[in-house]
Amino acid sequence: MQMFAKKRVEILIERALLKRLTDELVSAGVSGFSVVPLAAGRGQAGQWDSDGQIGDAAGMFALWCIVDPGRLDGLLEAVFAIVSRQVGLVSVSDVEVVRPERF
C-alpha cells in the first residue's frame, strides 16, 4: 500500500488549558486532533494521579494531531506563541498514512 509521510505532534496539557489549545489549533488551520486523558504522571511539578484530584482545573490530557510536514513549523509557532508559559511537553515524530488528502 502506498504511504505518505506526515508528522505526529503530541502536546501534554492541563484540563484548564485544553480549550484554549484546541481553539488555537483550530484557528491555526489544523484539520483534526485527538485527545486522551492521562491517568497519572510525573514531571517537574511532581507526581500526580487522576483519582487524587479535585476541581475544574485538575487532570491532564495528551493531545495529538497528524499534520503535513509543511504545516509543522507554523503549527508549533502558533502553539508556543499563545500558550508558551503553560504548554506542557511537546514532541514530534514521523508517521505514515494511507490517505494523504485529509491533512
Binding site: 492541563e14 483519582d51 484530584q53 479535585i54 476541581g55 508559559r85
Partner: protein
C-alpha cells in the same frame, strides 16, 4: 461551644474526612474514581441549590436578601486585598502567587457551606434559604480582584484576561448547577421537593460522607507533597485568614441584622476558600502562579480548620452577635 465542637468533630462527615486524611497520609491505595468525585460534586451543588430554592419558594423573598447579596459580593471582592497584604508583607510570598492565593480566599467552598448548614440543622438554628444565592454570588468577584491585584504595580504584565474569560467565569459549571437547581427549586417548590426528597435530601448525608472521604484523601496527598514548599508564615495564613474573613462577615451580618443562623452561614462563607472553581480560573489568567500552593493551603489547611474548629466557633459567635 465546646460540646458543639466535639459533636461536630465526631459527626460522620468529619470522621470520613479524617479517615481519608489518615489513609492518604499512611499511603493507603484507597481512592475514589475521578468520575464519581465529579458526580458527587455535581450532586452536592444540585442538592443545596434545589433546597435553597425550595426554601425561598416557601418563605418568599425577604427584604434583607439584596443587602446580604451585596455584602457577600463586597466580602468576596474585598477579602483578596487583605489576603494579599498579609501574604506579601507578613508571609513574604511573591507577587504573583500572593495574588493567586488571595483569589482563592475571597471565593467560597461549597462543602464548607454544606457543613455549616448541617451543623445548624442539627442545632435547630434556622437560617435563610436565600443564603445559597449569596454563596453563588460570592464565587466569582474574588477572581476579578485577584486579576486586578496581579496587574497592579510597575510594569506588570501578568494577569491577562483571556478571550471569553468573562463568559467562562460566569457560566462556570459549578455556578450553573447551583443557580440552575436553585431556580428549579424556586419554581417547583413543595411539589418538586416531595418527588426529589429521597434523592436530594435523605441520601445527602451519605453522598456527603463519600465526597468528604475523597476530599480527605486529596488533602492528605496535598499535605504530603506540598508541605515542603510552605513556609511557616504562609501556613499560618491558612488559619488566620478564615478568622479575618469570618470577623468581617460578622460585622456585615450585624449591620444588616441577619438572624443567628444566617450570620453563621455568612461568616463561614467569608472564612472558607475555594478549591474547585477558582483554581481553574487562576490557571487561565495567572499561569505563572504555582497551583499547588493555593490548593495545599485551601484544601489541606483551611478546609479542615473550618470543618473542625471554625464552624463551631462561627456558630457560637453568631449566636452572641445576633442576640
Amino acid at each position: 461551644m465546646l460540646a458543639l465542637a466535639v459533636q461536630n468533630l465526631v459527626s460522620p462527615p468529619v470522621l470520613f474526612f479524617g479517615m481519608g486524611l489518615g489513609a492518604s497520609l499512611g499511603r493507603s491505595d484507597l481512592s475514589v474514581p475521578e468520575a464519581i468525585a465529579r458526580f458527587l460534586s455535581l450532586y452536592l451543588l444540585i442538592s443545596i441549590g434545589f433546597r435553597g430554592g425550595a426554601e425561598v419558594a416557601h418563605q418568599g423573598l425577604t427584604l434583607t436578601l439584596v443587602a446580604t447579596i451585596a455584602a457577600g459580593i463586597a466580602l468576596s471582592g474585598g477579602l483578596p486585598f487583605l489576603a494579599y497584604a498579609f501574604l506579601r508583607n507578613v508571609a513574604g510570598l511573591d507577587h504573583i502567587n500572593a495574588a493567586a492565593v488571595a483569589g482563592h480566599y475571597g471565593s467560597i467552598s461549597a462543602v464548607t457551606f454544606v457543613a455549616v448548614t448541617g451543623a445548624l440543622t442539627q442545632l435547630a438554628l434556622p437560617f435563610d434559604g436565600y443564603m445559597i444565592a449569596v454563596a453563588a454570588a460570592m464565587e466569582t468577584p474574588a477572581i476579578f480582584s485577584a486579576l486586578f491585584i496581579a496587574r497592579t504595580g510597575r510594569g506588570r504584565t501578568e494577569g491577562e484576561m483571556p478571550k471569553d474569560f468573562l463568559r467562562e467565569i460566569a457560566l462556570n459549571g459549578s455556578i450553573v448547577a447551583l443557580l440552575g437547581a436553585f431556580a428549579v427549586g424556586c419554581i417547583t417548590g413543595e411539589r418538586g421537593m416531595t418527588s426529589l426528597k429521597p434523592f436530594l435530601l435523605d441520601a445527602f448525608a451519605g453522598f456527603l460522607c463519600i465526597f468528604l472521604l475523597d476530599m480527605g484523601l486529596i488533602a492528605g496527598r496535598g499535605l504530603r507533597d506540598g508541605w515542603r514548599s510552605l513556609s511557616v508564615p504562609v501556613a499560618a495564613f491558612a488559619w488566620v485568614m478564615p478568622l479575618v474573613g469570618a470577623a468581617l462577615a460578622a460585622a456585615l451580618a450585624w449591620l444588616i441584622g441577619l438572624r443567628a443562623g444566617s450570620t453563621a452561614v455568612l461568616m463561614t462563607l467569608g472564612a472558607s476558600a475555594s478549591y474547585i472553581a477558582v483554581p481553574a480560573a487562576m490557571r487561565l489568567a495567572l499561569p505563572a502562579a504555582n497551583p499547588a500552593i493555593a490548593l495545599t493551603l485551601s484544601l489541606g489547611l483551611t478546609f479542615p480548620f473550618n470543618l473542625t474548629v471554625g464552624i463551631p466557633l462561627y456558630i457560637a459567635a453568631a449566636q452572641m452577635i445576633a442576640e
